[in-house]
Structure formats: C-alpha cells, structure tokens
Symmetry: D2
Subunit: 261 residues, 4 copies
C-alpha cells in the first residue's frame, strides 16, 4: 500500500503478477496435455510454437520423452528456453532436418494457432500421437473461418484438440496472452464495483511487440514481472480482496484435450 | 498497422492517444466552468489542484482574470504549468500569502477532490464566485461518505458544483484520470466484440505514480503520448472503427457546473 | 425445483419474489425519510405520488403525523392504500381543498419524480419541512435536463433531496420500479455465469401498464407476487446461490436524504 | 407509443416480437442443415426433438425428403406441427416402429440436446447422413461434462455437428430459447444506455413451463406473440433505434453444421 495523491486515497498493487497468470495458464495447458498422454513415453516429441506456452509444454514433456524438439519460425525465441534438454530449431534448421530424414516423431504438439503450421507438414511427420491447439475461444465468425486446426489433425492413432476456455466469459482466442489480458480486464471490471474503489488499472503492455518486433526477450521477462493490477481506493485493507477477485477470474480458465476420432 | 506474430494477424494502434483523451476531458471541464462564469471578468482567481485538469482550467481563466494563481500541495507540479501568466504557489507559499493578506480572490475554483482542500480555507478566502469540483461519479457508499465538496461551497454570491459524468456508464469518480481509464477500458470491451478481433489492449499505466511518487513530469508527459489502445485482429482495415469506438466512449463524458443556492 | 424439458435439466424459481424486492426498496426509501425527520412530529403531512413507494412512505409517516394525506393524479390509485389512517386525494379533490384553505402541511414529501408536481404547488403549500425525491440515477443527459427536483425544493426550514442509487451499477432513475428491473436483470446476468446454468430468466412484466393503462390494482398485486427469477440449470442445489445473488444485488440499493441549504 | 405514468414519459414496445426472434433462430438452424445437405434428397428423414426448432427443421426437410418423421418423448407436442406432411411419433410409437423394422432412415437429425437421445438409438438407426445438434454454447464446465453430442455422431457416411453461437457474447447453450432470452437481455442492456431511456424491460416468460408443465400449446403460441421489449423513455421517436438494437443482437446468432470425420 502506498498513499495516492493525498493521504485519503491509497494505491494497492495486486500481489499476483502478470507472470503468475501466465504461469497458471501455461501450466493448465501443459497439464491438459500430460493428462491426455496418460503417462505414455515417447522417443521423439516435436512441439511447434515456442511462444507463449510452447516453452512450458516442451519442458513438461522432457520427463516422458527421450528427445524434445521445439520449433519456431522466429530464431530469437531460442533464448526463451528454460530447460537445457529441449532442442530448439528455427524453421530452416527444421526443414533441413526434415529433408535429411532426421525427424521421426511419435508425438507432435502443434501450438502455433492462427496462421501457424500447415496441415501438410504435420502430415509428413506422421506421428502416432498428435495434439493440435484449437486457437478459437468464444465464437467469432472471422476467426472461425480462418482457423484450420481440425484440418491439421490429419494423422495419428490418437488425436486430440487442445481447448482452453474461460468459463462463461468472452475470450476470442485460447491464446495464453489473450487469456491473460481478458482475465486482468475482467478482474478490473469486478474490482471497480467494490465499495471505495476509485479505479482499477490493468498493468498490461503490448508484450508481443517487445518479443516479436523489438525481439527483446530479457525486456519481455522483466515487463511481465509486474503486479497485474493497481487499485486506487479509500480502504487500505483491500489487498486480499484484490487477490481473491483475480484468483476467481484465473479459476475460470479451463484447458483440456478433446479426443478426436 | 503491423503484422502480429504471424502475417495472418495484424496489430493496430489507435490514432487516439491517452493524451487526446485527457485533453478532451480537461477541455470539457474548462468549458463547463467558462460557461458558468458567463463571460464575467475577475481580478484575482485562485485555482486549487494543479493535476490533472487544474492546469488547463487555470489556463482557460487567464483570458478573463487579471491574475490567476494555481495552488498545489505538491511543489514539483509547478513544472506542469503551460501558461506563463499563471502564478504557481505551493502550500507554504499560499499560506504565507494568505496570512500576509495578499490574497483577495473574487473567483475560487477548487479542483482538489477527495481529501483535498478544507472548507475553512475556502471560507477564509471568501470569494464572490466559488466553484467546487464534485469528485463523485456513479454512487459509491464510501466515496459518498468521505466527500465534502458541498461543505466547501460555503461562500460566494454565485456557487457552482462542477460535475463530470459518463452517461449511462460506471465511473466511481469524476477525476480526469479515472475517466480516461474507464473510457479506455470500456472501449476495449466494445472492441473485443468486433468480428476478427483477437484482443484489445489498453495502454494504460499508473501515471499517478510517475507524477506523485517518482515526481517525474517529463516522463509523465512522454508516457501519456501513446496510442490509447492496441488491437490484435485479422482485418487490417479496422483503424477507423477503433477510433469511432473510442470517440463514442469519449462522447459519453459530460461536464457541467450545477448552480447551488 | 422442477424438472425442465428432460430430467437432466432442472428449473428453479428464486424464493425472492418481485414483491420482496419492491418492499425492500420502498422500505429503504421510507427509512431514509424517517431518519431525516429525526423523530419530529407533524400535524399535517402531504405525500405526493401514491405509486410505487408513496403508499409505504405515507404509511410510515402515520406514526408521527396527526394527519397524512396522499395525493395522486390517478384517482384509481386510492385502492392501493394499505393504511386506513391515510387520507387519499385525487388532483381535483386536492385542488379544491387547497383553494378552500384546508391544507396547511408542516411536512411535504414529493415522490412524483419526472413530469410530476410543479414547483409552484409546493411553494403555495409552504411546509416547514420539505422532501423531494431526486428521480435521477446514473447520469443521463436527457433525464438530467428534464428533472426539476431541485427547483421544487423551494420552501422549508429543513429541505432534503431523497436520493436512491445502486452502488457501482447503472440505473437511469431512482424509480422503485426501475430499481427492481435493474436488480433482477443484473442478477440474471450474474446467475448466467454460474457453472451448470443454462439460462436465467427475469419474470418481469410491464407492471405500469397494468396499473396505469388497465387500471387493475388487484392484477398488479397478483403479478408482482411471483418469483423474481427462473433458472434453468443442471444442479438442483442452486436455490441458495440464486437467493444470495439476488440479495447481493438488492444490497446495492442505497437510499438517503441529502440535506439541501 | 403510449404515455407512461405522466405524459413526460413514453412507453414504446419493440416492433420485433419474441416470435420473430424465435423464427429467425430456427430458420438459421434449418438453413444451416439445408446447406450441409447440399440439395441431396432422402427417402426417410427422422428428426428427434420437436421443440423448439425441430418442428421447423422437419418442415424445411419436407421439400427434399419423401417422408419426414418427427419424434418426441412428449406426445402433446404433436399439436405444434405446422406441416401436414410431417409424421409425428411419440416415444412409444417410435419404439414400436423401430422394433417392427418400419424405420430405415437415410437422414437423421438429432435436436434433443442435453439429456436427450441416447447414442445407442442413433447407432441402431444407422443413417447414411447424420446431424446432431451441439447443445453447448460459451464454455461451461458442467454442461461440457454432461454433453454427449459427439458420442451420438456414431454413424453415417456424412456426419455433422449443428453449432449455433452468438458471436462475441455469452450464451451457455445453443438452445433456441436460450438464444432468444440472451438476445433480449443483451438488447435491454444496450437500450438502457441510450439517452433518455429510463428502463428497458424484457417481456420474457418461462415459456417452457407453459409448454412442458402446463402442456398448453395454444397459450405458448399466444404468449410468444408479444413485443420482445418494452422501453420507458423520454423520446417518442425511439422505435427504430429499439428495433435496430434488437436486430444487431439477432445478427450475432450464427448457425452452421461442422463436418465431423
Ligand atoms: N509454421 C510455424 N512453424 C513453427 N512455429 C511457428 C509457425 N508459425 C507460427 N509459429 C510460432 O508459433 C507461435 C504462435 S503464437 C502461439 C501462442 C500459443 N498457442 C499460446 O497460447 O501460448 C509463435 O511463437 C510463432 O513464432
Ligand atoms: N489542500 C490542498 N491544497 C492544494 N492542492 C491540493 C490540496 N489537496 C490536494 N491538492 C492537489 O489537488 C490535486 C488532487 S487530484 C485532482 C484531480 C482533478 N480533480 C481532476 O479531475 O483532474 C493534486 O494535484 C493534489 O496535489
Ligand atoms: N402532479 C401530480 N400530483 C400528484 N401525483 C402525481 C403528479 N404527477 C404524477 N403523479 C403521480 O406520481 C407518481 C409518479 S411515479 C413515482 C415513482 C416513485 N418515485 C417511486 O420511485 O416509487 C404516480 O403515481 C403519478 O400518478
Ligand atoms: N430421447 C428423446 N427422444 C425424442 N425426443 C426427445 C428425447 N429427449 C428429449 N426429447 C425432446 O427434445 C426436445 C429437447 S429441447 C431441444 C431444443 C432444441 N435443440 C432447440 O434448440 O430448439 C424436447 O422437445 C424434448 O421433449
């Protein structure tokens, strides 16, 4: 708690940081995938899409896979990797390896979403287990039209669609960042209704610009390490309430892999 | 327009900046005051509270007042002043002048809001025209209890309460910054509903921390000079729609001085 | 609880009825008035506007007033009266009594709201204590322009404006019926977010048509004696949750008399 | 337009009736099915679930099918049928016919939703084209768990899932009545924001009680023949705006059959 402009008004930062919300979401996605895999072990897993959850999903897979390859079109995302056991490939490295016949995955996880991986690539890899992330959230005609995630589910003995939704709330995609933004925004709207709250401010930035235009991984990591919400209020004891409202909104996020025949 | 992570997704910044919204609001407040004053001229006007609208209100008053004094408890706000005709006083300078009998305002405008000026000070100044800003927005029990703006309207042949509201929308105070935040947030909520919009991100910061804790006026001015909203979407032609939605929400803000007997 | 179309789906009516919400609101208004009157006793109280709270306010005043007159332009509203001590007058009866000098109220309560009583009538009655209901809720330009409640506060040693708001929520007027509708609607919106709720249905009717166009008081009383909300859901144990959400929204309603100088 | 309580306030009923919204939705569903069928012709079509869209879907199918059978567990729904070419069967009649080998549909449309038809029945019928309605709307954990629509898609050369959503809005199911309720509620919320609107009232009833508990088809048909919304407002020229807001919300409803492999 700090004083605001005058001592009558207090400023409280949420204990929960943007980072905490990101972790919660990517963990839910990783857990959904692990649950779908039922403890099965794999020789070679390829995860497509390093940002934002791919990195964590790859990490979670290292326990059950001899080799985990993380592929991304953006070479600079190599730096985001947290686990040394993960082998990063940018697109040219991946294409080379593919042509050289070095890739023979029994598990493929495609997290590239809208405008991402082509169905043909997945088809060539021909894994026995295939998981594709459904980028769609609440129905949107245009997003629905452009999405081809089900077309990418074209191989495998076991095929699953990774769905992530916010229960009873609108999020237009299942993208981890979309879910963070909407969770923070809806929490602010809830907080604004509390007695004595002057305003609730989302500490959000266009993080994707930092990561994909500025290509500054360090800055990205710094920037998400910030309280999710700043509340201006009369009551200095609001800290728990702020966290509870954030938690209630975080709990709305569900991730599960839907089995597809 | 920029591409997002892949070329399928676009990133569009609103043309309207945080700054533009601030100007719109403080101009509405200044105009409401001018309208109430009906072209009357004054010898000495004292405006209390430099941030955020005080500075502009003082500027607007310079045309009709021989002397305009802007008073604030925070001495560093002197730097925010845009018009050389305005005389800045911090609290100690103000108290000294008051004791020395140098202050004899015929117009007092109190914009200090919650936890601001005491009714006694206004009473001592005894202006013939007195305007006090009502800090209250949509009803809130605690803010209602702490507000004493009507008690400050204790002198003057002509007395007015400066009200600023967002029509049919919830804003807990009339504070210019509260109105900026709520306008941007509600615009993001509206934008999220458009076909093909993945997310709408408010480029808001805790500006009051920059101004009152860091005391860095330059940084504040830099930081509000930023597009109000960043939209991630499929359709690259959304720029006008984004501005229109922001304008529609800005147009919800009304400011007027209510005559009090 | 009843089964819905199939046994999988349940239908639950809220225990709280439209009637209960009406009582809660009119009681809050009556209490606000009593609190403002501080136990003072009166010889003759005139309450203007029988519908919807006027009837109850008049009833509450019978304890402290030798005579309570309830005036309404609609003669058929006489039937709504619950307390025999209240003397009903329609407009022609009122005007006659006024001309005959039979009216000399020391307390006047004007609950007629938008388009109601003229300031001149109140001025003629010249009570020592005057309370006028502020019909305004969340700011609305047009309603703000048409409202003249403050102009009606033109007499009296003690003058008060009866305000009723829903904290942090939008209601465009303080009308008891408006508050009922908005409370039920917002509760439905909240209920829709619960897990397993298919839909939440507001059991609202255009009651004012029954009362003012059909002029059928009996039917009105019957129609408001209905569960406020019907919920279609999977979980048969939702009854308490439904009531709690309604109560939480009812608790948002605050009524108080603001002293006006 | 009628006057409200006083002449200052007007009451406007929407031209659009509950009925019109129902027709719009069931037509969208019927069109989605027709589009999926691509003009193919069938010998025997069985539609399960007469209420609320089944009746209209069956009607639409009569053009391309030699025989259309509409099956419902509720025998009294026979009366709802609008087209004499449709053959109604209640459950006992259906089971008898099934046992007698009289049923050999090449098209089956299952609109029974949550708690409806069992996958086994569909499996027995073994149609070459099978469409099952997905009852799910915006994600809800409990509804998601109970829904088995994909399990019912267990036969057929061509299989489709009938989806109906409200773009960017929350509806917990795709049920025609759920969509009507949410469309009316959201329109009321939008209307409440217009200048000069006191309140917007949804003319909704628990129609399913009339149809399934009272079993009164006539009354149901009468009751949905009512203006969807009643608006209390200052401005008598609001009729078009009311309709436009309703239309905008109706236009959010999309229905399409998703091809399932
Ligand atoms: N064809 C491709 N091959 C590999 N990576 C790709 C790709 N197309 C896009 N990507 C990568 O996939 C990611 C898309 S963003 C994915 C977000 C993720 N689904 C989440 O919810 O967190 C980016 O890192 C992008 O660089
Ligand atoms: N007693 C006092 N005397 C002078 N200035 C004061 C004061 N108490 C607070 N202030 C100043 O008043 C301002 C309060 S914030 C005011 C916000 C303004 N009403 C708006 O809507 O833009 C701050 O600048 C604060 O430093
Ligand atoms: N000039 C007048 N004199 C007496 N009653 C009047 C009037 N104008 C309107 N009325 C009555 O005042 C009521 C207006 S509706 C008032 C609603 C009330 N404020 C509430 O919140 O419950 C109606 O009963 C109407 O018939
Ligand atoms: N096993 C079954 N066989 C036939 N009809 C059934 C059934 N179970 C439920 N029904 C019927 O299916 C309907 C379910 S309600 C269906 C609503 C529809 N999907 C819409 O959106 O309009 C009811 O008419 C119910 O009586």
């Amino acid at each position: 708690m700090k004083y605001g402009i005058t001592e009558t008004v207090k400023t409280i930062n949420s204990k929960i940081k943007i980072n905490d919300i990101i972790y919660n979401i990517v963990e839910k996605k990783a857990n959904a995938i692990k649950y779908f895999l039922e403890g099965e072990e794999f020789n070679q897993a390829i995860v497509f899409g390093a940002y934002l959850c791919g990195n964590f999903v790859a990490d979670a897979l290292t326990k059950d896979c001899d080799e985990v390859i993380l592929v991304d079109v953006h070479p600079h995302l190599k730096e985001i990797i947290i686990n040394e056991k993960i082998k990063f490939m940018d697109s040219s490295k991946f294409n080379l390896s593919l042509r050289n016949g070095e890739l023979n995955p029994d598990l493929v996880v495609d997290l590239t979403g809208i405008g991402g991986l082509s169905p043909e690539i997945i088809s060539k890899l021909n894994p026995s287990v295939l998981i594709v992330e459904n980028p769609k959230g609440t129905f949107d005609k245009d997003i629905n039209n452009i999405d081809n995630s089900v077309d990418r589910l074209n191989k495998g003995v076991k095929r699953g669609l990774l769905n992530t939704f916010r229960t009873s709330k609108v999020s237009k995609t299942s993208g981890s960042m979309t879910l963070v933004i909407d969770t923070v925004m809806d929490s602010c709207n809830d907080l604004k209704e509390l007695d004595g709250v002057l305003y609730a401010l989302p500490n959000l930035k266009y993080y994707e610009g930092i990561l994909f235009h500025e290509k500054d991984i360090r800055k990205f990591i710094d920037e998400v390490n910030t309280p999710a919400i700043t509340v201006s209020c009369l009551d200095e004891d609001l800290e728990n309430e702020i966290n509870n409202i954030l938690l209630k909104n975080i709990d709305r996020i569900y991730s599960y892999v839907e089995k597809i025949k």
